[in-house]
Amino acid sequence: MLEGNIEVLKGAIALVGYGLAAIGPGIGIGIVVGNAISAMVRQPEMQGVARTNMFLGIAFTEALALIGFVLFFIA
């Protein structure tokens, strides 16, 4: 099925690449949100600041996974 046909493998390799690219941001978003929640629980009066910064952190972390997602289509 695969004899010499690199085109068959190309999509599969791109999928594996996207999977690898999603590991780091997945862990990172977990850390960001977890720490933001513990900050909100400790200091409820700073909830607004914590939430804004949480979304900022998520946005920056998520960018890596999304670049992997776009590369999947380009590759």
């Binding site: 607004g48 804004t52 979304f55 998520i58 946005a59 999304l66 670049i67 997602f69 776009v70």
Partner: protein, 271 residues
């Protein structure tokens, strides 16, 4: 494995999901409603103008009267304006945030409407999943924060980024280089790609799940009891449909939030 075999059966029977033979096919004017001097007017172009008209119309009609006891529409309009002004403009950029309120507000409403087209029945297509729109909007933000940075700080703006004072001297060339690249090259790209990729991913998931659900159920005569899989996929698709509403609002918020943060970093570069 069963699902894969099933999918290939369906594909042959219906030929609903097809890949274009060449990526250039996407750029031909085959789907154009009409062309004006070589420029095609497609469904996407129509939705862009519709989103712009809806943004202007929403702001105009909701804030036209300004009565003391606000009606339903006015409450909504004032809520959106207050949210962008207080939570995005003033709390991030500071007291100068009001200067950038018109830009941030129109950006937020336009992106929000463009995103919500994804979950609007009968439209089901987010205009922000065409790279041109997020890229253009992020380039506008780019121009604004670079121009503001030069206007407020002169050439010290670039110098402060390339030679950060808060870092040990030995590390300054390295950190400065990283900061230069990330500020002037990566910011507009990641800002655009974040919005684009989120909406493409959502649109793709909805199309695949809801589409294959419908195809499977429609093919019940050919594949028999296996058509039940379509019901499951349709149900999962409906769950993701609700999730996509949240994503649409969140991504509009994040785009404007990051625009405000970038502008803030030009207004007060020392922070």
């Amino acid at each position: 494995m069963d699902g894969l075999i099933l999918a290939s059966e369906c594909d042959v029977a219906n030929e609903v999901i097809c890949a274009p033979a060449n990526v250039n096919e996407l750029f031909f004017n085959s789907h154009a409603w009409f062309t004006v001097g070589g420029l095609a007017f497609t469904r996407t172009s129509f939705l862009i103008f519709l989103a712009a008209a809806l943004s202007v119309g929403f702001l105009f009609f909701s804030l036209r009267k300004g009565s003391l006891v606000p009606g339903r529409l006015q409450t909504m309009g004032e809520g959106v304006v207050g949210f962008v002004r207080d939570d995005l403009g003033r709390s991030i950029i500071g007291p100068e945030g009001d200067r950038y309120l018109p830009y941030l507000l129109s950006l937020f409403i336009f992106i929000l409407i463009g995103n919500l087209f994804e979950v609007t029945p009968l439209v089901n297509f987010p205009i922000t999943s065409r790279m041109a729109i997020p890229l253009f909007l992020s380039l506008v933000t780019y121009v604004i924060f670079v121009v503001v940075g030069f206007k407020k700080n002169g050439f010290r703006y670039v110098f402060d980024i390339a030679w950060p004072k808060s870092v040990p001297v030995a590390l300054r060339p390295l950190v400065g280089l990283i900061e230069l690249v990330s500020t002037f090259a990566l910011r507009p790209i990641t800002l655009a790609v974040r919005l684009f990729a989120n909406l493409v991913a959502g649109h793709l998931m909805l199309t695949l799940l809801l589409g294959s659900g419908v195809i499977f159920v429609a093919a019940i005569g050919d594949i028999g009891a296996k058509a039940g899989l379509g019901v499951i996929w349709f149900a999962v698709g409906m769950g993701i449909f609700v999730f996509e509403i949240v994503v649409a609002i969140l991504q509009a918020y994040i785009f404007v939030l990051l625009s405000a943060v970038y502008i803030q970093s030009s207004v007060h570069p020392e922070h």
